[in-house]
Symmetry: C2
Subunit: 459 residues, 2 copies
Amino acid sequence: MPDTMKPFLEPRSVTIIGVSRLIGPSAYNILENMINAGFSGRVYPVNPNADEILGIKTYPSVLDIAEDIDLAVITIPRSEVPRIVRECTQRGIRAITIVTQGFADGDDEGREMQAEIVRIARQGGARILGPNTWGTANAFNNFSSGFTPMNMKRVPVGFIAQTGFYFGLPTVAGKGIDLGNACDIDFTDGLEYFEDDPDIRLIFLHMEGIRDGRRFMKVAARVARKKPILALKTGREEEAARAAQSHTGTLVGKDEVYDAAFRQCGVIRVAELDEFEDLAKAFLNLPLMRGRGVAVITPTGGAGIMAIDLLRKHHLRLARLSPATLDRINALGPAWQRMDNPADVWPAGMIAGHPFDEVFATVVDSFLQDEDVHAVMLLFGSFFDTATAEQTARVLEIVERGGEKPIVYWPSGPEAEQLRAALEKTGKIAAFPTMERALRALSHLNARWRYLSTNEEGI
Amino acid sequence: MPDTMKPFLEPRSVTIIGVSRLIGPSAYNILENMINAGFSGRVYPVNPNADEILGIKTYPSVLDIAEDIDLAVITIPRSEVPRIVRECTQRGIRAITIVTQGFADGDDEGREMQAEIVRIARQGGARILGPNTWGTANAFNNFSSGFTPMNMKRVPVGFIAQTGFYFGLPTVAGKGIDLGNACDIDFTDGLEYFEDDPDIRLIFLHMEGIRDGRRFMKVAARVARKKPILALKTGREEEAARAAQSHTGTLVGKDEVYDAAFRQCGVIRVAELDEFEDLAKAFLNLPLMRGRGVAVITPTGGAGIMAIDLLRKHHLRLARLSPATLDRINALGPAWQRMDNPADVWPAGMIAGHPFDEVFATVVDSFLQDEDVHAVMLLFGSFFDTATAEQTARVLEIVERGGEKPIVYWPSGPEAEQLRAALEKTGKIAAFPTMERALRALSHLNARWRYLSTNEEGI
């Protein structure tokens, strides 16, 4: 693995060029935010008009810093940037983040300046992240070059994006790279960094466009076998493509080409942020789904029917319950009822008089033991709102010894947050805010199983 | 308007036949729940083995009650139901809710018994709701015939459903009718009741199937001109149709037929409960959208591009900003930036140094005054997390005097709940959890405007 990205995400020493003496919410002071994030490496601020800022000694120029520097973060007006990049290369700095906006994302003059910066960096042996970037952040070592506070948690997700927007969303990722205009460092560099990173189990790409598609596909195809890669590719429509041109100076290709390319190298395309969140939750918490059969347990027949409507849409099917399963679950219901899949368990409780914890535990256990059931969907209505800890424990025990079948849970109605947390803690079950989102997640757990076991691509 | 449904939703006196002496969460005691709901009418419980239950005098039989009875609620084993229905008609009761399960939703014997009940009721001049139903609930008079607590609030939404499931969801509706097996009372009766109900501004249907399509369409076409009707039609797939047959004994027709019928009579079809919630929020809180042009304001270019991707999918388009609007908003940005739609306002704040409240207020105001802008979408990132009350007030003032254009708001990132509430209180703005859901809501506000103003049907 090339260590291109290492100084950007794990710098031991950083210079920030263009640190203001202003602090507070409207100052966008990178030094202030870096200190507040708890970064423990050395920091050398550059400001020719100050001796110290926030108690830290400042330097008139990067050339005045005697110590080794892993990373330079540049945040000065654009006209100064080429000169400062040259000074950085003179100082032997190999990693440079350019925060400044107004290059390929601005006007013609900006585009020319960006090209000049790339030439200077190439000559000097430095790599550039940006310009027009928030830089990088790493919750695992409390490093961040952002100009606003970043709330990232140590989530095992690495993101590589063309906007710093995701830094503000604490649940998205534990390590992030904002490519900005991507004049040099690109998606593939980020993929190579996360490929064998033990902190990272899933990779999220936010992509407006890409330059070197061939290299990306080669690396992505390799990395996708190790960790799921989810991609939110924007700029589908012509108008969006034009906007991307002015956002990061990116040329956006035909959307269908991206679709095919992602599919070919095993990258999972998502449509919006909520889909990313759902799939990340599923991949990080649930076992893969080794077939398309889903068994549904519901205390309301109406909801079971809605679930069936959504199965085919998501390339799943109702599991065909074995005679043994059917006998076991039907022993619970009244004589006039023939329970099947979905299993409507309301009459078993209200009419046949079985306690609902017994009903849920028995039905879920029967499902998990059935060969044609590859995943279980729980549509919980009122039962768990009134369940005691003991009743809940019985269901949890079944879920926990359930083996390698994912269980998704739609907690409709007033939700028992405590129960949801307990269920999710088993590592066998995940809750989703709608039935459709739960089934979409299962569908991807099945697609990934097929991808890893049979080389089949996509859903 | 026929007053078929009045005794079911506004009874002055109710008999409950088959009240158990058991109370508490597992007893499903309708009397207990009716009292707890705060119903102020007279209640006559029938139980031949008790003198009083919960301090209320009980009767051996409905024939022993001397007073007028508006509504009978029957919850006894199925074999007794025909006899009791006959007794109710003998007592002159015209409205009967049958809670008991195991009729057309059960086996052949149950189907025959259901047909017999209908015959008895017709002869006796009574109308039947159910069987297999939770009955009705009305938050506006604290009435409920449900066997579990119903948490309904006085929301101006009436639902008519084939499951009582929605009673448990307090935000769905303020008045509800569970048709259950719909052996007699059907969707059309419910529509006629809500048509001129001043408490109800929107109607929600959960439908598995319908018997008298012609009558439904005639009434729905009339009611839809007065109030939006949203329909969640389930049982699309063959397997789902089979399950509906065993859930409520409903014969489900071809899905495409329903699609066409809904479209023709102005009923808006929704795919899942979250879509209903979004559209209800939009219809109840926002003005209609009088064209397809949307203007987007965003502090992150990347999110603006995502919005464009979703516009066409939802049959909307980017508004073409007038030269006056462009001049006004571009006065805020740095010289190298040419803001358009979406307006990326980050450089105006961070580089040009304008306070973000001024930027937001100016851009939103310019949008609202632009003729081609029919709705505004606000993608708020970090600004509002740090905004002071005074800064927020400035934006709110613009929103409030904004006139008759809907504004949707996607509060990405750590959300300021207080601000969201303040924004929504203006009655001009509604927040949605994803950009796609915000645009889907706008799309329906536009479709309804076209439906009411030009007779154009559907999106």
